[in-house]
Amino acid sequence: MKKLFPHPVLTLALWGIWLLLNNTMAPGHLVLGFILAFSISLLTSGFWEEKVYIRAPLMLLRFLRIVLWDILIANITVAKLILGRNRKLKPGFFYVELDIRTPLGISLLANTISLTPGTVSCDLTEDRTRLLVHALHIEDIPATVKQIKERYETPLKEVFTEC
């Protein structure tokens, strides 16, 4: 079974994507989508060295909600910053010390940071312990770091595990 479904999450996701792409729940596409999802995940299994499981699906949904909300708020905030006088902006680089260790986790964290307007993750140190972030306007670095770790890193750590 594990050989056939090396990455069940992926297979499911692909199936969902197929149905989304075709905008349908027609039985034909359900079947075809499943076959495709199954074959593609099997075909690309070599590219996924680590196994990924979603340990806490509900947590994931909550995380998504938080992120989307943050994005919305940050958009408005940042829009003001951009449209306002740019000389007032206080840009800065700062490091986020990482607790999360898995490549996927780190990447998703970096991703989240970048997606939230106002911050962009710029670099990962080679030992993968710190993430360099640039902020468009930052007053209090430690508070921001703390917020990032609490709002994003902690849930991510809990949602995704690898075995």
Binding site: L10, A13, L14, I17, W18, L21, N22, A26, P27, G28, V31, L32, L36, A37, I40, S41, L43, T44, G46, F47, W48, P103, L104, I106, S107, A110, N111, S121, L124, E126, R128
Partner: protein
């Protein structure tokens, strides 16, 4: 079928066959070639013999076969008196030369080659004189040029032989081409290339407006071949040939071919002032110049060569007079010259053979060493000088008579006999020199060999020829008369006029001229020392060869100049020419037809978005050019153009194109970046402002031209065939996306060709990159070392996540393509990009390890799939690529379409993936190996 219906072509072709035989048998025995040549010549004579009597009965034998009827070229032969005379001369003297050459050639000389060439030459000459069709005559005429080239350059290690042969080929070849042109025009006038028709159409030809071109062109052929002024200079240089060759070519054959032609066309072309003027002027000048120069030659063969030129001039002059009696004299002198000149050349060869030199300043007093040869030479030379009781005397008398006749034609014509007399004096002088300087005149000087009589058989040909000289000279009526008669009849194509071959006509002007010539000649010869000094100081420096070389040299320089100026090996030059030509062509084409530039079709309104987007495209396009020296920036600008082009496609209802353009754009950028790594990062500033200005002008014109063309078309109505596709896509092709149905069905062959192009690009790139090494820079253009993080972790993770998703999209785009925008191309490109992203993020080694497809295999399978659908149709009795489709209704799944076009599109998909990935990965590997090489180098440097 009797022998008489096909023997003439056998006579002509036999020597060619014999040439092969002669060359072949030489591997068995040296002398076998000579024997073969002898036998072949005898055989040819034997084949000629049964027909030889016909001209004497007043008949002309024609043997003809169809060859290229479209242009009136027949394979046909003609035997009349003239042809018979020449054929006999060619064969008889040929036979003698063969016998002579067998002894002449040294053991170092390859006999097989010699006799093969000689036989081929003989065949060519026979072909010239025996041809009925004029084109065929030209064929053999040119063959004589070619084979004489081989004969003259026989001693190829000698530079003078090579140069002499090439000069002869150049001059006679040129003449041959002129002759071809003349003959074709003549045939055009007459309406036939057959001599019979041409000879019967003399009046029509002379009345034609093409008469002068025909005459001039044919005469160029004649004059070059017969070494008439101003084309005479090749002949002395042809003396580098072995002497038997000279004896043959310059007595009876090669040079006589021109004379033969004069005789042949005499009834057609002569009798006009143009003929008289051109032919007799050339003849007269040649006669005088040849005789004069001959005296001053120190080379024995040189003397004979110029003498030959002079005698050819004499014959030409006679033909130039245009009267029938002059023609008789000309024919007679042809025969006589052939005999005495052949024997003289042979004697020269014997002397050369025996003494090792031909320099008359060193050869003296040979009479005591080789009295027999000396006597033969003296008789022959006397014949050349026109001494009574020898054949030369008779024809010279006739010649003098004709000059006197001609002198009464007009006021200035008194000059003719005067000049002729001067030439005759010099003729006597050089003949005297030939005899006195060689056989008497003291002792030999510093000869390489001690001379003695040659082998007896080497002299036999000379003996025979000298006997003929005597026999004709003494008893012409019983020897030469019948042959002369039929030859003249053949020449004139009418019964010959009254003429007398008597030795004694009483004391008349010609006799006085002869006596004056003999006396004057003796006088000139005695005064030779002073004359030589004067000549060497003045005239000797004037050699037409210098002019020839100057012409050829400047032609050569001109050729090099023109070629290198135009074809300078510069791509920009070539490209400018193509573009400028295209512009000109378009302009001329349009200007040629008077029509308004713009039509009256209703146009679409402009909207702000389009305006802005197009403005961005134009600006980006201009920036690409303006910033081209900063390559990366230029490439970024190009990216904008690509993006906007796809937006334009979307805007104007072409979603398939937009998708394709987008995907191609991405791959192109990656490709160009891969390559840019190995190239300089910037383009050096161009210093040539003029060129930039020129290029800008060309570009602006090209742009304007294309813009105008586009407007011209877009403002006109169009009724395309496309409604058919719109109507038949669903019922006939089974798809609603008409563009896709066209691609995979209506015009599937285009698509097939196109994926072959892609496959070829992939394979070609693979082949090019094989074994290629390029130095990889270890720092960027600002001198910074590269980042050490070659595969950033965050990117790696993301792209791996993306990989299956992109493949899913590829499948989606593929499957919907028949009905909605998409299809094999786009899907293939998406899949390829999905793979490329993996390579970009994870590197080649990592990705290749996980992707075990050989991309060659993918390409091959793709082509197989695309072609197989076509072949299946063929198997079912339909044309290649005939498609079919059907609707299936399965439980659960529902109703869905299955189309053979999908299999075709799958082939497209596979080829696109295979070719794209193969190209990019091979390019990536190039840098991989370079990196390693670079690191290796650094490591070894550290050690």
């Amino acid at each position: 079928m009797t022998l008489l219906s096909f023997n003439i072509p056998v006579v002509v072709l036999l020597p060619f066959v014999g040439a092969i035989a002669a060359a072949w048998v030489s591997r068995y025995s040296r002398l076998a070639s000579a024997w073969a040549a002898t036998i072949i010549t005898l055989l040819a004579m034997a084949f000629l013999a049964p027909a030889a009597g016909l001209p004497f009965q007043g008949e002309t034998l024609i043997q003809s076969w169809s060859w290229i009827p479209g242009i009136g070229l027949t394979f046909s032969f003609r035997l009349d008196g003239l042809a018979l005379l020449f054929a006999l001369l060619i064969l008889a003297i040929g036979l003698l030369v063969i016998g002579y050459a067998r002894y002449y050639l040294s053991p170092k000389d390859c006999m097989g080659r010699f006799f093969a060439y000689l036989l081929m030459f003989m065949g060519s000459m026979l072909g010239v004189v025996l041809s009925e069709n004029l084109i065929q005559l030209v064929v053999f005429w040119e063959l004589t040029s070619l084979t004489s080239f081989l004969l003259i350059s026989y001693w190829r290690h000698r530079q003078d032989a090579r140069l002499g042969a090439r000069m002869a080929l150049a001059i006679t070849g040129a003449g041959g081409l002129a002759l071809l042109a003349g003959v074709m025009l003549l045939g055009h006038v007459v309406g036939s290339y057959n001599l019979t028709d041409v000879l019967a159409a003399g009046d029509r030809v002379r009345a034609s407006e093409l008469y002068l071109p025909v005459l001039v062109l044919i005469l160029i052929g004649v004059f070059t071949k017969s070494a008439q002024f101003p084309f005479h200079f090749w002949l002395p240089h042809a003396m580098a040939a072995p002497t038997p060759v000279s004896a043959y070519l310059h007595s009876a054959t090669m040079v006589k071919a021109g004379i033969f032609l004069l005789a042949r066309f005499f009834p057609v072309l002569s009798g006009t002032p143009e003929w008289s003027w051109i032919v007799s002027s050339a003849g007269l000048i040649t006669l005088v110049i040849g005789a004069y120069i001959a005296l001053f030659q120190h080379d024995l063969k040189g003397l004979l060569a110029y003498s030959t030129i002079s005698h050819l001039g004499l014959i030409t002059l006679l033909f130039g007079f245009g009267t029938q009696l002059a023609a008789v004299a000309a024919i007679f002198h042809i025969i006589n010259h052939a005999t005495f000149k052949a024997s003289l050349f042979m004697v020269a060869g014997i002397i050369d053979h025996e003494t090792g030199t031909r320099d008359m300043r060193r050869i003296n007093g040979l009479f005591s060493y080789m009295p027999h040869t000396a006597v033969l030479a003296m008789i022959a030379a006397a014949a050349m000088a026109g001494v009574p009781l020898l054949n030369g005397f008779l024809s010279k008398e006739m010649f003098f008579q004709q000059t006197i006749t001609a002198s009464q034609v007009s006021g200035w014509a008194w000059a003719i006999p005067a000049l002729v007399l001067i030439a005759a004096i010099f003729s006597v002088a050089y003949s005297l020199r030939f005899i006195h300087d060689v056989f008497f005149n003291g002792k030999p000087v510093d000869l390489p060999k001690t001379p003695h009589e040659p082998p007896r058989f080497m002299k036999i040909p000379v003996d025979l020829l000298v006997i003929i000289c005597l026999a004709v000279g003494i008893i012409p009526m019983f020897t030469v008369a019948p042959v002369l008669h039929v030859a003249v009849a053949g020449t004139l194509q009418a019964s010959p006029p009254e003429y007398s071959l008597a030795i004694w006509h009483g004391i008349n002007l010609p006799l006085i001229m002869s006596i004056l010539a003999l006396a004057g000649g003796a006088l000139v010869y005695t005064a030779r020392k002073r004359l030589f000094a004067w000549h060497d100081a003045s005239v000797a420096r004037w050699d037409a060869r210098i002019v020839f070389n100057a012409i050829l040299g400047s032609l050569d320089r001109f050729a090099v100049g023109v070629t290198r100026v135009f074809d300078k090996g510069s791509l920009q030059n070539a490209a400018v020419w193509v573009i400028v030509t295209a512009l000109t062509a378009g302009f001329i084409g349009w200007m040629g037809i008077s029509a308004p530039l713009l039509g009256a079709r209703e146009l679409l309104p402009v909207d702000g978005v389009s305006l802005a987007v197009l403005a961005v495209m134009m600006a980006a396009s201009l920036m690409t050019a303006v910033l081209h020296r900063r390559r990366l920036v230029s490439l970024l600008m190009l990216g904008v153009v690509g993006l906007v082009v796809s937006l334009v496609f979307v805007k104007f209802s072409a979603p398939d194109l937009a998708l394709t353009q987008l995907s191609v754009e991405v791959v192109t950028v990656v490709l160009l970046l891969l390559a840019l790594y190995f190239l300089p990062q910037s383009t050096p500033r161009e210093r040539d402002k003029v060129r930039i200005g020129r290029d800008i002008a060309i570009s602006v014109l090209a742009g304007a031209g294309v813009a105008v063309l586009t407007m011209g078309v877009l403002t006109r109505e169009l009724t395309p065939i496309s409604d058919y596709f719109l109507l038949n896509a669903v019922p006939g092709g089974g798809g609603t996306n008409v563009v896709n149905v066209i691609l995979v069905d209506f015009r599937g062959t285009d698509t097939l060709g196109e994926i072959v192009v892609l496959a070829l690009a992939g394979l070609g790139i693979y082949a090019m990159l094989r074994g290629m090494k390029l130095p990889a820079p270890d720092r960027d253009s600002q001198g910074r070392l590269w980042s050490s993080d070659n595969h950033p972790e965050i990117m790696r993770t993301h792209t791996r996540l993306l990989f299956p998703l992109m493949l899913m999209i590829a499948v989606y785009i593929f499957l919907r393509g028949h009905n909605l925008p998409g299809g094999g191309f786009i899907a293939g490109l998406i899949a390829a990009v999905a793979l490329i992203v993996q390579y970009l993020a994870n590197g080649i080694a990592w990705t290749s390890k996980r992707l075990r497809f050989d991309m060659h295999w993918v390409i091959g399978l793709g082509l197989l799939a695309a072609t197989a659908t076509g072949l299946v149709a063929m198997g079912l009795g339909y044309p290649f690529l005939t498609s079919t489709f059907t609707y299936l209704d399965w439980p659960v799944v529902g109703k869905f379409e299955v189309a053979s076009a999908i299999a075709f599109d799958l082939g497209v998909f596979l080829v696109v993936v295979g070719a794209t990935v193969l190209s990019l990965v091979e390019l990536g590997k190039l840098s991989d190996s370079s990196h390693k090489a670079e690191q290796q180098k650094r490591r070894t440097e550290v050690r």
